[in-house]
């Protein structure tokens, strides 16, 4: 005879068991004792993890997961952003030359450019390579943007955007649970971003700090701002975090 599984005991506890399952549990002293212990365990659980605390935490995780999904849907193969070899070589020399220690800019280590403010950089594809996108530029649904940054003296960062429909997209880190450590120097996200048909605008935010950033908190702040003044307002985040933004207007086709 097998032992009665906890799953069946739980089903009896929840009133979802069949009559046969219930009878089997009640007839087994060990299973019955486990069943009778569950109400007290439930009370202890809710004392430790009340719904008022846990439900918002679950909803916050859900928002982050959805923001990550939105990012995945908008990803564009990075091949679009391959620089012409000569330009890439020139840029590579310039980037290395601008770093204090001459270290390769792709190293994931906490080196910073002292005194240089972190900045968000948006680019459009051009025949000769990426073209910087001017502030308040107007683009259209389907246009592809490469999102980049200059980490400056910051070690960590999160990049999100809010569109005119109130949707929030997480761009960096790539996954909600990913490290917020910013590669130093001039960098860009692994995937470009294709604008969808959301109306009016897409506003990109770079949030930086010199310690790990709670990505979920930034996404939650973006969700809040999305319902108030996403076009001009600041993200309601910890004042110790620095934020910068760039607005992209969406024109009608």
């Amino acid at each position: 005879m097998s032992r009665i599984s906890q799953k069946i005991i739980e089903r009896v506890h929840l009133g979802e068991a069949t009559p046969a399952e219930r009878a089997r549990v009640l007839a087994d002293p060990e299973a019955r004792a486990k069943l009778e212990a569950l109400p007290a365990q439930d009370r202890a659980f809710f004392a430790a993890w009340p719904a008022d605390v846990m439900v918002p935490a679950i909803e916050r995780k859900l928002r982050v997961a959805r923001a990550g999904e939105a990012q995945a849907r908008s990803r564009v193969p990075s091949g679009l952003w391959i620089l012409p070899p000569v330009l890439a070589a020139i840029l590579g020399v310039l980037l290395v030359a601008t770093q204090p220690d001459g270290a390769p800019d792709t190293l994931l280590e906490e080196t910073t450019a002292k005194g240089l403010a972190p900045s968000l950089k948006l680019y459009l594809p051009g025949e000769d390579g990426p073209l910087p996108l001017m502030p308040d530029a107007t683009l259209h649904a389907g246009d592809v943007i490469q999102i980049g940054w200059q980490a400056g003296d910051a070690t960590h960062g999160v990049i999100v955007s809010i569109d005119g429909g109130g949707s929030v997209t997480l761009h960096f880190p790539e996954a909600a649970g990913g490290s917020t450590l910013l590669p130093t120097g001039e960098q860009h996200t692994p995937h470009a971003f294709r604008l969808d048909d959301a109306p009016a605008y897409e506003r990109f935010f770079l949030v930086t700090a010199n310690e790990a950033i709670d990505t979920a908190a930034v996404v939650a702040a973006a969700e809040t701002l999305a319902h108030t003044d996403a076009r001009t307002g600041d993200l309601p985040i910890d004042p110790k975090l620095r934020q910068s933004s760039q607005l992209v207007h969406k024109g009608t086709p």
Binding site: S2, R3, I4, S5, Q6, K7, E10, R11, H13, L14, E16, L38, Q41, D42, F45, F46, W49, A51, M54, V55, A57, I58, E59, K61, L62, A65, R66, E69
Partner: protein, 159 residues
């Protein structure tokens, strides 16, 4: 299908947390896994057609915990946890992640994973007959699927 997170949490939260804690043996990890279970359920609610929510929440919890066991660094644990680790890392027929593949199967009413059946049989103590009823396969089907894991899980006895 519409899901009221608060209502579901208040009804099923303790059960999900108990399941996660039993598999992960870690309060903090279990609480995080419990949150992940509810997130997955809400994200896939459009594909949800269930008469007994506790069953698929329990199975979702199992699969999410197996994923966490696979991904965490190994550290000394008790024999049951070692068994779970062997089940968690055993290969499936599919290349997809445990959670993605298994949740798809659960919600699409397709066959459950071999790992999940192994946990039911080896960890939860269900007989092959009970596993078969639980997952909607024949006993011979369950037996056949579990053979896949046999070489990876030394304790797998199909008697």
């Amino acid at each position: 299908m519409s899901i009221d997170i608060r209502a579901w949490y208040e009804r099923f939260g303790p059960m999900v947390h108990r399941r996660c804690k039993a598999l992960l043996r870690d309060e903090e990890e279990a609480t995080e896994a419990m949150q992940d279970v509810f997130v997955e359920v809400v994200r896939r609610r459009e594909r949800l057609e269930v008469g007994a929510p506790s069953s698929f929440l329990y199975r979702t919890a199992t699969n999410i915990c197996l994923n966490k066991i696979r991904s965490r660094k190994r550290r000394p644990q008790d024999p049951d946890t070692d068994l779970l680790e062997r089940i968690a890392v055993a290969p499936e027929a599919e290349e997809r992640s445990v959670t993605a593949a298994l949740l798809d199967k659960i919600f699409a009413r397709e066959q459950p994973s071999t790992r999940e059946m192994a946990v039911m049989h080896l960890v939860d103590g269900l007989t092959l007959d009970e596993v078969a009823v639980e997952v909607g396969l024949s006993v011979s089907g369950v037996r056949k699927r579990l053979r896949v894991l046999k070489e990876h899980v030394a304790q797998l006895e199909l008697a």
